[in-house]
Assembly symmetry: C2
Homo-oligomer: 78 residues x 2
C-alpha cells in the first residue's frame, strides 16, 4: 500500500490536535497568525507547507517541531 502523502497525514494530525485543544479553525488561525482558509487547506492536506509554517502550527498547539513529527510518526506506526 503506497504511503499517504506527508501533507495529508500532517493535516489530519493538525486537525486532531486542534480539536483536542477545543479550538475552532478561526481561533487556531489567530493563534498561528495564519488565515482561517489556509488552515482549512492545511488540514485537508491540500497545501505544501514550509518548515516555518509547520513551526507556527506546532507552537500554536504548544509543541516543538520535533514533538509534532514524533506525534506524526507514532500515528504512522499505529
Amino acid at each position: 500500500m503506497e504511503e499517504e502523502p506527508l501533507a495529508k497525514r500532517l493535516g489530519r494530525l493538525i486537525r486532531r490536535l486542534r480539536l483536542e485543544e477545543g479550538l475552532s479553525q478561526e481561533e487556531f488561525a489567530e493563534r498561528c497568525g495564519l488565515h482561517r482558509t489556509y488552515i482549512g487547506f492545511i488540514e485537508r492536506g491540500e497545501k505544501t507547507i514550509t518548515i516555518e509554517t509547520a513551526s507556527k502550527l506546532a507552537q500554536a498547539l504548544g509543541l516543538s517541531l520535533a514533538q509534532l513529527f514524533i506525534a506524526l510518526e507514532s500515528l504512522d506506526s499505529d
Copy 2:
C-alpha cells in the same frame, strides 16, 4: 538575543550531518533527488523549504523528520 531563523539553523545542521556522512554536496544532492545548487542554498539558510523537502533531506541522511528536528532542538539547547 533574538533567535536565529529556523532555515539558517536547519541549514547548518544539514551541512554538519552531510559532512559527518562524508558526502559532497553533489553526492548528497543526488541522494536527495535535488539539485546541487539548491543544497547550497539550503545549507546557507537562504531557501525556505517545505516539509516534503525536509523529509527528503532527512531520509538522505538516514533520519526521520522527527529525528532531524530532535537533532536541531538539541543543537539549539547546546
